[in-house]
Structure formats: C-alpha cells, structure tokens
C-alpha cells in the first residue's frame, strides 16, 4: 500500500475541506447573482413581487410551524396566465439553487409569503423553498 490508513485520513480530511470551500464560493456567487432582483420568474416571464402582492389578496394558513400569510400559489399561477394549471407540475427554485417539484394539488394548498418563502401546510418542511426566484412550469 502506498499510503497508510493514517495518511489517507489526512488526505480525505483535506479533500472534504477543499470540496466544502469550493462549494461555499460557488453557492455564494450563485446567491449573489440571483438575490439582486425583486422579481420572480414564472414560466419564463418576470413579475415584480410588489405588483403581484398588490393584485392578489393575501390569506392566512395554519402550519405545524404556526400561522403563515401570503398569496395563494394557485392564484399566482392563474395570474401568470397559465391556461391549464392542473396539466402541469411546478418546480419551485430558490436563490441558492434549491429546487422542489410539486403538483397542482400542492399549489392549491400553498402560499407565497412577501419574503418569498413557499409554505405548504400539508408537506414536510424541505418543500418550503426559501428566497424563491423562479417557478418553472413543467410537463407531467
């Protein structure tokens, strides 16, 4: 064996540190690029968050993390001009690259808060995407 297990563990520790540093630089650069905008992209079209919130009424929902308020996600999709919303699934994308894909039924239960967090009271917390920058409409 060229390296003893002791040496291998040092190499592995250094490798994961390098991987972690490179990933952190990448994530911060990605976030900075996407955070500068006050807009949200829905199916390729840009919408101003403040205009959306002035056109759609906010509602309150109860989650296992307390009461949350925001605009219903199904109304947001209707507002974006989608003709057959139930024909698609929806990929919600955060500014850090985090993505979750949900169905129309999920969208009917969820809300988007003013600070751009999607809350789904019936889904686990990993579905609660933060800092949303885009909602992609995808074929089922």
């Amino acid at each position: 064996m060229i390296f003893s297990r002791g040496k291998i563990i040092h190499i592995l520790a250094i490798s994961v540190i390098i991987l972690g540093i490179i990933s952190t630089i990448y994530v911060n650069a990605y976030k900075e690029k996407n955070n500068s905008s006050n807009e949200i992209i829905i199916n390729g079209n840009s919408f101003d968050i403040s205009i959306i919130f002035s056109n759609i009424n906010e509602i309150k929902i109860i989650t296992d993390d307390g009461e949350k308020s925001g605009i219903p996600l199904d109304q947001l999709i209707d507002y974006s001009g989608e003709n057959c919303p139930s024909c698609f699934k929806y990929q919600i994308i955060g500014s850090d690259g985090y993505k979750q894909t949900v169905t129309w039924q999920d969208m009917e239960n969820g809300v988007l808060s003013l600070d751009r967090i999607a809350f789904f009271p019936h889904l686990a917390h990993p579905f609660w995407v933060r800092d949303i920058i885009e909602i992609e409409v995808k074929k089922i």
Binding site: A13, L19, T101, A124, P126
Partner: protein
Amino acid sequence: MKNKMRIFALIIFFGSIWGFSEIFIGSFLADQELPYGIIMTGFFAMIFLTLSRIIYNQKGMQIAIGITAGALKYFNPFVGGNVCSAIAIMAEGLVFELIWNYFMNYDFSQLKSIKMKISVGIFTSYMVYVSGFILTQILTPLIYSNFYFENLISFMPQIFSKGLFAGIIGGLSIPIAFSLSNINLSLKDKIYYREGRLRINRLFYPTTFGISAICWIIVLANWYIFIS
C-alpha cells in the same frame, strides 16, 4: 451474557440522549435560527458516537445507537417530516460505523496524535452530515410525492458547502470526546479496583437505564400532549 447486557444498556443510553438532544436542543437551535443540523451532527452526534466507541469498542454498536436515536426522533412533536429525519439519523450512525470500522485499529492506536483526531473528526463529521442530508433530500420527496434527481443534483453544492461547517465542528468534537473519555464516568468501568479491593460499579445499570427512561418518558409525554 453480562457483556451483551452492558452493550445493550450503552446503546439505549447513548441513543436516547442523542435522540433527546436532537429533539430539544435541535428545536431550540432551530427557533434561534441557528444551523441546527450542522451543530447537532458536528457536535452532539460526533461526541455521543465517539464516546460510545471509545468506552466500549464494539463493532455495530453505532448503527444500533443511530437506530435508537432515530426511533426517539420519530416521536418529535415539534418539527414535521419526522420519518425522514429519523431515517437520516439512523443513516448517520451507519456512516460513522463504516468509516470507523475501516480506518480505526482496535485499540485506536493511530488516534494518539491531536492532528489525527482532528482529521478523523473533520472527515467523519463531513461524511456523516452530507450523507444524512442527501438521504433526507431523497426520502422526503419520495414519501410526500415524487423524487426528482435533477432537484438533488442542483442542491449538491449547498450540501457540500454546509458539510464544511459540520466538518470543522467535528474536527473539534472528536478531540473533546477523547478528553471526556478520560474522565472516570460511572458508565465507564463496571469493575474497578479501589483501596486494593475489587469493586463493582453498581451505578452502571441504574444510571444508563434511568437516564434513558427519563429521555423516552419526556419525549413520549410531549408527543402525547401534542397529538391530543
């Protein structure tokens, strides 16, 4: 038989205090908007798993500790998605076990230097955290709707990035766990010599089972109050 009973008691003890701290300390850290997953894995999981390994060097024990902690976490009344986080904790125990089984000598002789302890801490904590995180990202969508590989891939840089901090904390935790193992805990020696006589530590079973029972009773009582 006595050895098996002793191992069982330590598994239940370490699994219970790990699960208990995940629920109560983890929930407190989450409320303070601190990175609780990183702290829980990098510090608490590493301390409990390493201590249990040092005190009683038994292969397979850390998997069983992970299963016990995961079972307790399943009853966490504070956070949703309990099945996934319970399985993730079990996976963390498994990954720790695999790494230590491969790299450690039976007597931990290669862990004498502080540099080695730090390296082992960084690598183990990083791998345990990253694998637990990836598993949660796969299981949660699978259980609630569908898993999309593309979603996981796009989030991998975030997972690798968060793992860095878990790794750094782990690099400090494992040397701390080794220092703690030098303290003469009542758990450590069932039979010991004092004043020239062989004595039996009668506190071992009451301590391990008693503390474990308290952890389970508090969690189950909280869970019962929450669901009712």
